[in-house]
Amino acid sequence: MKTGAQLLIDSLQAIGIEVLFGIPGGVVIPIFDVLYDADMKSVLMRHEQAAAHAADGYARASGKLGCCLATSGPGATNLVTGIATANFDSVPILAITGQVRRDLIGNDAFQEADITGITRGITKHNYLVRNAEDIPRTIREAAYVATTGRQGPVLVDIPVDVSTSEVEDVVPGEVRIPGYQPTVEGNLPQIERAAEAINAAERPVLYVGGGAIASNAAAEVKTFAEAAHLPVTTTLMGLGAFPEDHPQSLRMLGMHGTPVANYAVMNSDLLIALGARFDDRITGKITEFAEHAKIIHIDIDPASIGKSIAVDLPVVGDAKRVLTGLTPLVDYRERKEWFDQIAHWAESHKLSYQKNDKVKPQYVIEQLREVTDGDAIICTEVGQNQMWAAQWYGFKRPRQFISSGGLGTMGYGFPAAIGAQLACPDATVVDIAGDGSIQMNIQELATVGRDNIPVKIAIMNNGYLGMVRQWQEHFYNRRYSHSSLNGNPDFARLAEAYGVTGMTVDQPDQVRDALEKAMETDGPVVLDFHVDPEENVFPIVPPGERIDRMIDLA
């Protein structure tokens, strides 16, 4: 005989969960009681939102399923932002929540929340387990759903009396879900048509999103792009799916993309979207986006195709499989005129910033790249810090850039860095943060301090909600309503209070030393860079504008 809690931990081990991020509470005490002597690493977080983000960061860094555990009611609702973040960016996480006793469900019991109802729209699927003997099957099914097709979060809600009830040990059978059969292989005639279109194109662009990373297709992207000789741009979520130092790389497109990427897309005659979803931050004014281009859309999610933009040639399937079928069918074409034009745009519109006597955030990130050999896993918060990181670090490989793209969750980066560090213990993991975002999950300094998790937090401290301030500067007549963060703490001293090394940097010539010292430190470090307070992210496409009409320095 085994308890439901025991079956749960056994099932998590059976599906390969190695680390669990969570916080105990009333109805999950039986589960934590099993964890007390189970052979499974569990990290005690200080807020459930951070537990969900840590599971998400773990999943993005490793490509494996992340797992978090929270109690009922407020524990479960605190997970919600983290689950929504994972859902938007198609990240496989398994969220386990405790629930009140079965006979109390719906009774307004203490710490009760209808979490399956609340998370219905932000999970790929969710379950309320009614019997302990269903736990092994449910966990196996949940893991299968989370990690196949278009990946995403799955929540399993377990009433406390299900966790404590004793049942015979059950071995689950094969997963069989009649309503769930994701299309993995692309349709061959469609792939052939795509190849014809690519071979005929004079001004093609390959536009790569996070789907390429989720499907572990970076090698195939490179082989394909080189075989057909295509310029490649990536979305924020696709950073690292194609090496940014590759001669065919246009780097990131969209609102804060490189001018060359935006010009190339807008002037293309064929746009090949791979695991990308034509987000409004990418397309700007969608009615005029790539208006002369034929569009091929390769995506595992049929509902993504034709959602925002009319597609000429849809291919439903896994990015890696589709590229494997497509690559042998494409011809190498020089397209000299097109590549010359691109080289001209790239040369005449480089990303740049103006140096002065203040610490420039872009400079900090350039220095960080040098100090870490461009090899660190970079997590970000959301806002200016995120865009500077995306523009200035230079990503070489997939799963190197970890950021909340779709939901845009401030407070994501630091706990995600904790997850990434646990997934990749030998990697250098840096959270590029803002002074606003870092305060949205700063309690996790206790987690990294206690467990000596060596993440480095580089705060681009400008004393503002910087992206809000920048929008107010450009679009709201410099009315800086509620964007100044007067009252910020001294972050270095705050870190020290948690037992974490803290450093403050306010001179450009201290940047390099501080970064080197931080990277040499065997443990977590908070680097508080007092950056030029009114530095902007350029270029920027005004919201709703064509993406080739950007505001740039100059």
Partner: protein
């Protein structure tokens, strides 16, 4: 906007209705009616959903329904010939001396009187939407006290049903 009849097979389990209705609410699709009933397999239910929208919206609805884990099959029946039936119970006032007129109407429409009192009667009628609407309008002069409709259920015509 064109009327579409979507027919879906779903697993007969707790929460499936809220998954489907939640999808419509979250994506801002407006439905005219939704009908759920068991199929020959008690583990599987059939949903008939009637909604209006342009082709692009309907395509998205179908795709999103297919994405739901507990939805097994989704068809837009309006793409091919189909039969549609709505069931109605209508309580019509029968003013003194006019009961016979109402019964005549019931016969013309091939309905059935299922309950009767001194002041009104309850009539059962099934058929396509237009017939139901027509009957409601001819009853209106007598006074309609209540209308209860199932919303359409539908099945594709012909022997080629997959």
């Amino acid at each position: 906007m064109k009327k579409h009849v979507i027919s879906a097979l779903v697993s007969n389990e707790v929460g499936v209705l809220s998954h489907v209705s939640g999808l419509f609410a979250a994506r801002g699709y407006n439905i005219d009616s939704m009908n759920v009933g068991e199929t020959e397999d008690p583990g599987i239910s059939r949903m008939t959903i009637v909604l209006r929208g342009d082709d692009q919206i309907i395509e998205q609805v179908v795709k999103h329904l297919r994405k739901l884990i507990n939805v097994m099959q989704v068809k837009d029946l309006s793409a091919a010939p189909f039969v549609e039936r709505d069931l109605m119970l209508i309580k019509v006032a029968t003013p003194p001396g006019r009961r016979g007129e109402v019964i005549d109407l019931v016969e013309i429409f091939r309905g059935k009187v299922v309950d009767i009192s001194t002041r009104d009667m309850v009539i059962e009628l099934s058929g396509p939407e237009a017939k139901i609407e027509a009957f409601i309008s001819v009853c209106r002069p007598y006074g309609i006290k209540d209308v209860v409709r199932s919303g359409p259920i539908a099945a594709p015509r012909g022997a080629n049903d997959e």
